[in-house]
Amino acid sequence: MSSSLHNGWEVVIGLEVHVQLATRSKIFSGASTATGDEPNSHASLIDLGMPGTLPVVNKEAIRNAVRFGLAINADIGRRSVFERKNYFYPDLPKGYQTTQLAEPIVGAGEVVIRLEDGTEKTVRIHHAHLEEDAGKSLHEAFSDGMGHGQTGIDLNRAGTPLIEIVSEPDMGNAEEAVAYARKLHAIVTSLGICDGDMSQGNMRFDVNISVRRPGEPLGTRTETKNLNSFRFMEKAIKLEVERQIDVLEDGGKIVQETRLYNGDTNTARSMRTKEDANDYRYFPCPDLLPVLVSEEEIGTLRAELPELPDAREARYVEQYQLSGYDAGLLSGSIATARYFEAAAEHGGDAKLAANWVMGELAAKLNSEDKDIADSPVSAEQLGQLILRLKDGTISSKIAKQVFEACWNGEGDPDAIIEAKGLKQMSDTGELEKIVDQVIADSPAQVEDYRNADDAKRKKKIGYFVGQVMKATQGKANPQQVNQLLQQKLAP
């Protein structure tokens, strides 16, 4: 199952991913799913669990789940059943969560991930089911700071539709797990069924991890929660794998437990052990009829599916002649793909756009921990920059300078080039004068150049190019400079 060993240990990882569906109303009530409003302003009688209220399923949530199932080539449950998962918690108003268990809407499917070395791997999906989210307990707002006081309950989120995607334990290390998580992110955002905002918990990842010696049965697993970025996920997995190996190598035993990861400190702590686990007493919800999805409906939804990451990747290779790896990176997130395609269109050069998006832009976003959707340089601006590169207005060195200025909010590339006088020197007469001057100022180097053979001259010309660029503050076209120098230096 695992692709590589870790100090002689095989790592086994499975993911449970909660995806918040971007429907306007909740899964069983007509209340809005809007966030950021006053607590309990979107809590209807149903969300409050008022006596006598009944759920009515949101058909768009059903359709979104089916869309996801189709995207991962899964069996779609023609008949799926909502069940009640019973437990007491103050932010669970009815005392049960309505979810699916025995008959989920999405059956077995698969997702292909591509790893950094270019290899592909298939992660099997066990199933995906629909369920309602719980509310939120607000401990801090009502505390007196000494551990006393009241807990507030905000039920705005209660009843928000989720799909929980359960993978098989097919991942063997953090890289694979993150690649899988990214791929799911790309799929649901491409489908438009989730906004993918992990910082808001709109996509939540629970990672099940165990380790074993090759050939041995599966080890005891732990579940790590609260991973609200891919980076944290990677770190948390590495942390937990190390911990489990340490425990086992010290002769200890892994306790089946749920662990909470803290990204700020890169630590995790036990939240609850198996002993604390509830008996959820699942049974089919008698207030809801089984959900039936017809062949016709499935056919319609299939026909309406938007372009998915794999198809987009293939198209990038075909249409833009990108390498498979580049195409994979650019198509791996709907936001990146949209940005790239817009930049390529505006700049009229997909390869340049690809290089910039994966190079300069990615580095900058990464260093400032920004999402591409929030990039200070818009796709249109990057496109303009590419245009100026292509028509020779600026050199690639100057382009980086313009990009930097644009990132800092100094305006569009054209305006920056204009304001800073960064236009490449294209007047041959003016450039010739400077070239002549440099040659006149460097008699020894000229001598040396002329005495060298062809191969050595190629290296030695660099000195003169450097001097010209220096004198023009980088605005000269390097190719043009090279040409002029070769002519004038010829013995």
Partner: protein
């Protein structure tokens, strides 16, 4: 006025023999004067009733006659009524003022009904004697030392005593039909999904169904006509056209095939009860019906199956009563667990706790297959039995209850004996069929009822059978001596 049926009162209002206000005042006065003996009302909504009556009088003056315009109705306290306490017979909801109104109540109001108040009931509809109510037992107007049956005991008792001319109830395992039988009134449990459950506090969601209790089958038809119909707010409420119940009442019975299940006349059944039901069927035979022997072999399993399924659903339905958002909350909870434990221990009565425990057990890991799943299989067998029978016959008949009203406290210590009181009614809920109980005479001076079961959505047919029976008999017109 109080000895008249809803149908007669409707005619009286239309003929302007009396006003809706006079009618409402009359019944409010009667409740005020006599309910102390019965305890059939938990809340009387006099002011609102008079306001609704005045609105009805204005409507009548304007020629706007709807199905129930100006007719006083008592609603079981299981239906949420906006701005009015809705207790469900429980301390847990003693302080609960519902923020919205149940669809069944709203539909009757839309047809001009006047709400007199909320009737007493077994706590959360769990009981067959009305002794589990937080507000104390209801007494049977035929003998106030006896129970009125349950759980819609308040509804049946107030009707029998003529404190209200019409009432609503709910029936999960016989809770409309059994009290109707024990009080000498008519009660109809419609097909599951015929009347919306929105706003009806859930006991066992897959079995609960609201229906009318009245002084005659015609009255029940009138009320059902208003209550029935699809409701977008209840996913289990079926989108079937509502029949013309009033129009179907007078149909002749010639050729009607009445199935007589042998299981409804077991060897150990009280002979007088069996004779009473047979006598009622003979009356229908006289009108041209044919009696056909049938068998429903699986219904002997209905009581055990019911006492797994109903508590299982109840254990989950009642989880929302946790002291957090509404209802009873214990004093000074130490922590969350203490809040849950004490609020629920203090807020629920013994029978409710018993059923929550039974249901929790039945759904627990390791027991689910043995209890809940097996009970669901039994449920399918019962449904199949009925389906087979309805290929041969139009309706099924038998006694509603194996006994007449028993003494208060007689079964208080023996829940299983109490559960057996529902032996003839429960299978109907498990199958989801419509059934009614009609008064069919007296055994030892106490009312006995006969049950008429129909196929799905055949409410019109069973009301027709009961109506024809009532045209030929006067059992339904008898009034307890003390409440003449």
């Amino acid at each position: 006025m109080h000895d008249k049926t809803l149908t007669e009162l409707k005619a009286g209002l239309q003929a302007k023999d009396f006003s809706a206000r006079e009618l409402t005042e009359h019944f409010l006065d009667r409740v005020q004067a006599r309910d102390g003996e019965l305890n059939s009302f938990v809340t009387v909504t006099g002011e609102q009733a008079l306001a609704q009556a005045d609105a009805a009088d204005q409507a009548i003056a304007a020629g706007d006659h709807r199905l129930l315009t100006g007719l006083p109705i008592a609603h079981k306290d299981i239906f949420c009524t906006e701005g009015v306490r809705t207790s469900c017979g429980s301390r847990m909801l003693d302080n609960f003022v519902a923020p919205y109104t149940a669809t069944a109540v709203e539909r009757m109001a839309a047809q001009g009904a006047v709400m007199l108040g909320k009737t007493n009931m077994d706590e959360f509809a769990m009981g067959s004697s009305n002794e589990t109510s937080f507000y104390g037992p209801v007494r049977n107007p035929w003998d106030t030392e006896r129970v009125p049956g349950g759980s819609s005991g308040g509804a049946a008792a107030c009707l029998a005593a003529r404190l209200a001319p019409g009432a609503t109830g709910t029936d999960t395992g016989g809770s409309i039909r059994q009290p109707a039988a024990l009080n000498g009134v008519t009660g109809l449990k419609p097909t599951y999904g015929r009347v919306s459950r929105w706003g009806m506090i859930a006991f066992a969601s897959s079995l609960d169904q609201a229906g009318p209790l009245g002084l005659s089958a015609a009255d029940c038809a009138l009320m059902l006509q208003a209550m029935a119909g699809h409701d977008d707010k209840d996913s289990t409420c079926l989108d079937e056209p509502v029949g013309d119940y009033l129009g179907a009442l007078d149909q002749g019975l010639d050729g009607l095939r009445i199935g007589v299940p042998e299981e409804f006349f077991p060897d150990d059944l009280d002979g007088a009860i069996a004779d009473n039901a047979r006598e009622a069927m003979r009356e229908l035979e006289k009108q041209g019906a044919k009696l056909v022997k049938v068998s429903l072999p699986s219904i002997k399993l209905s009581v055990p199956a019911y006492y797994v399924i109903a508590p299982a659903e109840a254990s989950s339905n009642l989880s929302r009563f946790d002291g957090v958002r509404f209802g009873y909350r214990c004093e000074d909870p130490k922590d969350l667990e203490d809040l849950y434990k004490r609020s629920r221990s203090e807020g629920f009565g013994a029978e409710v706790k018993r059923r929550i425990l039974v249901g929790t057990y039945a759904l627990s890991a390791g027991y689910y297959d043995a209890y809940y799943k097996r009970a669901q299989r039994v449920r399918r067998l019962i449904r199949d039995d009925f389906a087979r029978a309805f290929k041969e016959v139009d309706v099924l008949m038998g006694p509603t209850s194996p006994e007449t009203a028993f003494k208060l406290g007689a079964k208080a210590d023996d829940p299983v004996k109490m559960y057996m009181a529902d032996v003839f009614t429960i299978a109907v809920n498990l199958a989801g069929l419509p059934a009614l109980s009609m008064p069919s005479g007296f055994v030892d001076g106490l009312p006995a009822g006969t049950q008429v079961i129909g196929n799905y959505f055949q409410e019109g047919r069973i009301l027709n059978v009961a109506h024809r029976y009532q045209m030929a008999t006067d059992w339904h017109q008898r009034i307890p001596g003390a409440f003449q």
